[in-house]
């Protein structure tokens, strides 16, 4: 454990309150070297072998594909940092995505004008998502249900709720003002990429530089010690699931904005696997106590790039699944070697 002092949870309350200082550059630690090296190797391979790789379009396609995974991954990383897991992210995305169009189209209650409707839709959907996250957190913290089982409940029921609410119908809409959150561009970069970057930076900062962040890592590192040190373990746990719910809500809105349609059957289907894979490849310890948001971003980029590389070179998607599986096992195994 001695090699990971930077993020090692400390059971001493005094040091929990005084996180290390440093600029944004120090958010990247030498822990990421392996991940970055893998990413660069993939990029070089593609520059040489994949036709039309070095184009703005490729960059744009890959970034938009990775956005949703990273946004959900921000919340997942926090949850995993406490030693938990959140399987319900995809279902919560579906719930947020199913509610939002009904609100800004004024189907649930009259809205004075489109802009107010859009604002209400965004705020309310994300709030609802947060409450579903709170439900997960409540089960985990107050009933001590194992996270994998607690979030299994909403994994099953959550999508059902979204489907019942929309009758399983596809809701198509044409509201460019709302769709700006996904497809609008600022400085030539899709707006959703900016959202992703903002969330990543805020979360990375919060995890490493705030008391809350230290508490999250302390709970994941040794729950008993954290409790004895006076950390409000239950509140910390509840909060990380709320954060995960909120992140899923945002991701759900981006997905429907991209598609200009909401399909409760499909939004976020199976995303939990991609997200957990990104977190694992990024170097976050799955048993908790050590986490890196930047790593999750890098992990998601690696997985996306591997998939893109395989597809662009004619390997079927099914084979990419097998490769992804190997990648997850390899990444987690390397983590273990690193710790030993």
């Amino acid at each position: 454990m001695s090699s990971t002092t930077q993020n090692a949870p400390s059971p001493v309350p005094g040091s929990v309150g005084s996180p290390p200082r440093g600029g944004i550059a120090s958010l990247l630690s030498r822990r990421h070297i392996g991940t970055i090296a893998a990413l660069i190797a993939l990029l070089i391979f593609n520059f040489i072998f994949t036709p039309h790789f070095a184009t703005m379009q490729t960059l744009s396609v890959n970034l938009t594909q990775v956005c949703v995974i990273v946004i959900v991954g921000v919340g997942m990383t926090m949850v995993i940092a406490t030693g938990g897991i959140d399987l319900s992210v995809g279902s919560i995305m579906a719930i947020a995505g199913a509610f939002a169009p009904q609100i800004f189209q004024g189907m649930l209650f009259p809205v004075p004008n489109l802009y107010v409707g859009i604002a209400l839709a965004i705020v309310m959907s994300i709030t609802i998502a947060g409450f579903f996250g709170l439900f997960n957190g409540w089960l985990v913290s107050s009933f001590r249900v194992q996270p994998i089982i607690a979030t299994l409940i909403l994994y099953i029921a959550g999508r059902g709720i979204a489907q019942v609410w929309t009758n399983g119908d596809l809701q198509v809409f044409k509201v460019p003002e709302f769709q700006q959150i996904a497809i609008g561009r600022v400085f030539g970069v899709p707006f959703q990429v900016w959202i992703m970057l903002a969330l990543v930076l805020i979360a990375a900062w919060a995890l490493q530089r705030t008391v809350f962040g230290r508490q999250v890592l302390a709970v994941g590192g040794n729950e008993q010690a954290a409790r004895l040190a006076g950390i409000p373990v239950r509140r910390v746990k509840r909060l990380v699931y709320v954060i995960s719910g909120v992140c899923s809500g945002i991701a759900g809105l981006i997905v429907i904005a991209m598609n200009s349609a909401a399909d409760a059957n499909l939004i976020g289907m199976g995303i939990e696997l991609d997200v957990i894979a990104a977190v694992a490849v990024g170097g976050t310890l799955l048993s908790g106590g050590r986490a890196t948001i930047i790593g999750t971003l890098l992990g998601a980029l690696i997985i996306q790039l591997v998939r893109y590389t395989l597809l662009a070179n004619g390997v079927p998607d099914a084979a990419a699944l097998v490769v992804k599986a190997g990648l997850i096992v390899l990444a987690v195994w390397l983590q273990r070697q690193d710790r030993a």
Binding site: A157, S287, L321, K324, A325
Partner: protein
């Protein structure tokens, strides 16, 4: 402490009897021969997967790969079915054992958390199944007796008199007994064997010891790694068997079936009162849990059929989640009150 899982299992059994009683009272044809045999035939796959999951959970682990392993096995079995029942069966089982061996190796030798290891094999097995089948369902052969594994029974061997008018109660019992679907026999046999293994062998005691405390069992000199390795192989074998039955029951290898089976299996184990933290559990209660969940959905289907309410598939998933919620809360209460006592 032994009273805990006994009482949870008893609760599940009581709930099962109540649901059956409710169904018999409310719906015509609920207790019919046809309905009973259909429920048994269909749920035998889930019972097999649940048995493997039960052993895995008793060691404190989890196996998320069972659904896609079953899908992979069904594809392999369907490809081999033209060569006969035995090749199809062995091929499917071999695919399951291979996946289970990989799980066991990754978890016990590479020391990777069970849920992440089996998540990876879930992806990989599904990928291999899609590659092998070219993303289409693979028709199984009707020329061999392979289909008997999913659809067959022993009714042909019934003596003439039991089908007669004056067969009476005894005759009806024999008729149902021989009409018992072959997959249900397989599941029953697996559960009897599983119960023997858990309660009468050293391996069974090791399973519970490892789940109770891995480090402590290691220090006591128990073969911890081998035990963990073997439960995943066992879970793979049973998922493989379920896959063979899947192919035989639906007449085709189904590369995209099996999604959500792991959740169903986990739910049955939990409903049966096996502690998710490991160290305690009951094979029989898992069978009760599987039947309880299976019959609950039969009841929902009958309710739909009566037309009073329209329960779409969407509502069913909400109810499934709600049911799991109730069970989990009850289990959490039970555990705490026993721990306090």
């Amino acid at each position: 402490m032994p009273r805990l899982h006994a009482s949870a299992g008893f609760g599940a059994l009581l709930a099962l009897l109540l649901i059956i009683g409710f169904g018999a009272w409310r719906y015509d044809g609920f207790i019919s021969e046809y309905n009973i045999l259909t429920v048994l035939r269909y749920n035998s796959m889930f019972a097999l997967v649940g048995l493997g999951m039960c052993f895995v959970i008793m060691t404190g682990g989890i196996d998320l790969s069972v659904g896609s392993v079953a899908a992979l096995s069904s594809v392999v079995a369907a490809y081999l079915s033209p060569y006969g029942l035995i090749p199809g069966l062995l091929g499917g089982l071999a695919a399951g054992v291979a996946a289970g061996t990989i799980n066991g190796f990754i978890i016990s030798k590479m020391k990777i958390l069970p849920f992440i290891a089996t998540l990876a094999t879930m992806l990989a097995a599904s990928g291999v199944a899609l590659l092998l089948s070219n993303q289409q369902s693979v028709p199984a052969s009707y020329d061999t007796n392979f289909m008997a594994l999913g659809q067959g029974d022993f009714a042909l061997y019934a003596p003439d008199w039991v089908n007669g008018e004056d067969a009476g109660f005894f005759g009806a019992v024999i008729r149902i007994f021989l009409g018992f679907p072959i997959p249900a026999w397989i599941a029953l046999f697996a559960y009897l064997l599983g119960s023997l293994i858990l309660n009468r062998t050293a391996f069974g005691r090791h399973v519970l010891a490892v789940g109770g405390g891995e480090e402590a069992s290691r220090l006591m000199g128990l073969p911890t790694d081998r035990t963990i390795f073997l439960v995943y192989v066992m879970s793979g074998l049973l998922a493989g068997m379920a896959g063979v039955i899947l192919a035989a029951q639906f007449g085709a290898g189904q590369p995209i079936e099996g999604i959500g089976w792991e959740l169903f299996a986990i739910a049955s184990v939990v409903v049966g009162g096996t502690l998710l933290t490991g160290g305690k559990g009951s094979v029989g209660a898992t069978l009760v849990g599987t039947l309880l969940l299976g019959i609950l959905f039969t009841v929902l289907n009958f309710e739909n059929g009566m037309g009073w309410i329209s329960l779409s598939a969407y509502w069913q998933s909400v109810l499934r989640g709600g049911f799991l919620f109730v069970v989990v809360i009850l289990q959490s209460r039970l555990t705490r009150s026993t721990a306090a006592a």
